[in-house]
């Protein structure tokens, strides 16, 4: 009991859920943020820019270099750029 979990809108039907870091996640698919394993400072920054655990996001760029572009679908938001090192510490889940 306690925290109210929002079930992301997509259906889990027959799909496997795969955990991976945001930096290696596929682009243009819905991803759910599962863990943010960064330091306290970065966690705060992400939270104040509207990124929280259980949010559904989409990654927009596929380069192996430079920051990741993220769009948060759970709240209406502008795009966010997240540095590569930090993106490695964010664990997301997607359907396959």
């Amino acid at each position: 009991m306690g925290r109210k979990l929002r079930i992301p809108l997509f259906i889990y039907y027959k799909n496997k859920l795969i955990k991976m870091s945001l930096s290696e996640a596929p682009v243009e698919v819905r991803l759910t943020i599962k863990e943010i394993n960064s330091g306290q400072e970065a966690k705060r920054k992400l939270s104040s820019l509207g990124i929280h655990k259980d949010d559904v996001v989409i990654k927009h760029n596929d380069s192996k270099w430079g920051p990741v572009i993220l769009e948060n679908l759970t709240v209406q938001s502008n795009k966010l750029a997240i540095g590569r090192e930090l993106a490695k510490k964010i664990v997301v889940e997607n359907e396959r």
Binding site: E41, R44, K45, S47, W65, N78, G83
Partner: protein, 642 residues
């Protein structure tokens, strides 16, 4: 008379400054402009014959500050007298905005919510049920389109009503049961402790769980036992750290409210600006465009600056002819007047022509939102030199003036990254130095040299950044919002340009005219001989320049643009192209002048922001770098020419 104080609070890019500007226009009032990020703007406004102080606080995403300028806002709200908070929200980003609104309501000050950019929300297909939102929050809601001056009258009426008449208290937001219990416990413990505080007991209790460092130490110490126990409980029973628990709940509260009040009209198509954005952020096209953009940017400044300079030059020459007869009449008076004239013509004929297009184009550029895209594109490269993508913003501002650039480092969260950026900023040629570079290269060489010098300076910055970041510990990394692309408003950019030019000429004029007069006297009394003698080792032996330029360097410490005027003055010629210097000497001189020292104001600002150690380090570093670079060019060019 003690006026009531209204403060504007909002997340970045919500339109706070726009709201501030239109509000303070209601009846002509003075605005205290200080022009740069992190400085608080204030003004007086009149509504129905009552006058109020209006203060625009630095943007903040939340009341858990992440950087220095956010800290200023939070400190202000917690400790200064505030009668009304005007919370500006970007309507198209309602949910995220509401997270801050909830915190502001928890804070316990009277709040009015301004739903700005209502037009943007509409064009995104979002409609907001204002009545319902008002019921949920129990604070007045005013939709505005501040950019077009719409809704401003309603806003000032709402402020007036809220300030002068009774109003019902705002809603209380209840957390989930177990947290709420802890909050209540803390509230009880705080009962005797918050005498005379701005903020509510509830706010203090919530922050004691979420972010205790915000609350004063003596209060924190008295409740330490209880708050430690709460954090332990949360961690053991719910596997959550205190900060995450509370911010997560607030996030969901905001989401619940916006789900209730938002209607999406249709599944929206991708708009044109989003399609353009794909190219701007593209790994290949993005960088390509960026390069073209900056080349064009500086090229335009060069062309326009040249044109303007040609335009005013004849006028100034006429003025000089008028002055000539005085010399026969009284030598001392002539040296004084001629000094003043040279200072004046330095501003009008040399600096302003380049300054004007630079400031205007930078204002336009800031408006478009391309700055954030630059930061994104450069983050990868900047990482390689150990910097934060965000410092790009400071560097770009640095092309205007180092002072706001140093202030703007406040938005970099991490102290290490801030310090590195601040030490590197003085190397970025500011408009004054760009004027020196352009004016001298235009007089002696081709624009190619200006480009070479720019490229060299960038290289210097990269090398210094790399070395500095090796010396200091690791950064947390970039988290940056990329705002929507916007068509810049010409009116706003003109306004900004006008204010900056005014700000600049105000002290530059006095400074330059007086400075040149002093230099005139120095010449009259022949003191410059001794100054030049003191600088001889550097100026003539190391750099191979005429001795007379020594005294210009002293003035260059105060304002770099003085160097140009002083160079004419010191060598006794009336236009740059008549300076008796070779190409080699000019380039060496430019390189040295560009790098040798942050100007006096920058020096003071860095000292204020970062302390003595950093500023001394920065000064010595720049001197060494300047000498080495000038030597490199001096002998490099010699070798190439042979």
């Amino acid at each position: 008379m003690s006026d009531k104080t209204i403060v504007i609070v909002g997340q970045p890019n919500s339109g706070k400054s726009t709201v501030f500007n239109v509000l303070s226009d209601i009846k002509k009032s003075k605005i205290a402009i200080s022009g740069s990020a992190g400085i608080i703007n204030s003004s007086v406004i009149n509504i129905n014959a009552n006058s109020y102080n209006l203060i625009n606080l630095p943007s903040t995403y939340s009341l858990n500050p992440n950087d220095k300028s956010e800290q200023i806002t939070v400190d202000y709200l917690m400790n200064s007298p505030v009668d009304l908070v005007v919370n500006v929200i970007n309507s198209s980003l309602l949910t995220r905005g509401l997270e801050l609104t909830i915190e502001l309501i928890e804070l316990g000050l009277p709040v009015i919510v301004v739903l700005n950019m209502f037009d943007e929300a509409e064009s995104k297909g979002i409609s907001i049920d204002l009545k319902k939102l008002e019921e949920k929050l129990n604070v007045p809601i005013v939709p505005t389109r501040a950019k077009y001056g719409k809704g401003v009258k309603e806003l000032s009426d709402a402020c007036y009503k809220h300030l002068e008449y009774e109003h019902k208290p705002a809603s209380t937001f209840h957390y989930t049961h177990h947290i709420e219990k802890h909050i209540q416990d803390l509230e009880n413990a705080l009962k005797p402790l918050l005498e005379g505080k701005n903020y509510s007991r509830r706010f203090a209790s919530i922050k004691l769980i979420e972010n205790p460092t915000l609350i004063e130490k003596d209060i924190r110490n008295k409740t330490e036992e209880l708050s430690n126990k709460i954090c332990k409980d949360l961690l053991e029973e719910h596997k959550l750290d205190c900060f995450e628990t509370v911010s997560y709940e607030r996030h969901h509260y905001a989401m619940k409210i916006s789900e209730d009040v938002l209607r999406y009209r249709e599944k929206r198509k991708r708009t044109l600006d989003e399609k353009v954005d794909d190219y701007l952020l593209h790994p290949v096209f993005g960088h390509f465009f960026l390069t073209i953009f900056f080349v064009l940017y500086f090229f335009l400044i060069f062309i326009i600056g040249n044109g303007l300079a040609d335009l005013v030059e004849p006028l100034l020459e006429d003025l000089a002819i008028l002055l000539a007869p005085v010399r026969d009449y009284n030598e001392f008076l002539w040296f004084t007047l001629n000094g003043a004239y040279l200072g004046f013509s330095g501003i009008l004929g040399i600096i302003l022509p380049y300054f004007l297009p630079l400031v205007f184009l930078t204002a336009l550029f800031e408006e478009t939102g391309y700055l954030a895209r630059t930061a994104f594109l450069m983050d990868g490269i900047f990482h390689k030199i150990g910097l934060h993508g965000k410092s790009v913003v400071s560097f770009v501002l640095g092309f205007g003036c180092s002072v706001p650039a140093v202030y703007s480092t406040r938005m970099i969260e991490n102290k290490r990254d801030r310090t590195i950026a601040a030490i590197l900023i003085p190397f970025v040629p500011c408009s004054a130095r760009i004027a020196v570079i352009f004016a001298l290269t235009a007089a002696f060489a081709s624009p190619i040299w200006a480009l070479i010098i720019f490229a060299f300076v960038l290289l210097i910055i990269a090398i210094n950044g790399k070395v500095l970041s090796k010396l200091l510990s690791k950064p947390i990394g970039l988290v940056l919002e990329i705002p929507k692309l916007k068509v810049p408003s010409l009116k706003y950019s003109f306004q900004k340009t006008w204010l900056r030019i005014l700000d600049f000429t105000k002290d530059a004029l006095v400074f330059l005219v007086l400075g040149s007069m002093v230099l005139g006297w120095i010449e009259y009394f022949e003191v410059s001989y001794y100054i030049n003698l003191a600088f001889e080792p550097i100026v003539s032996y190391l750099l191979g320049l005429p001795n007379e330029l020594g005294s210009t360097l002293v003035f260059g410490f105060f304002r770099k643009e003085l160097i140009l005027v002083m160079a004419n003055q010191a060598m006794g010629v009336d236009s740059l192209s008549k300076l008796p210097l070779t190409l080699n000497q000019v380039i060496t001189f430019i390189v040295f002048v560009t790098l040798y020292f942050p100007c006096f104001t920058t020096f003071v600002v860095i000292m204020k922001e970062f302390g003595k150690k950093v500023v001394l380090f920065s000064a010595i570093l720049s001197l060494i770098v300047a000498i080495l670079s000038a030597l490199l060019f001096r002998f490099g060019i010699e070798m190439l020419l042979i």
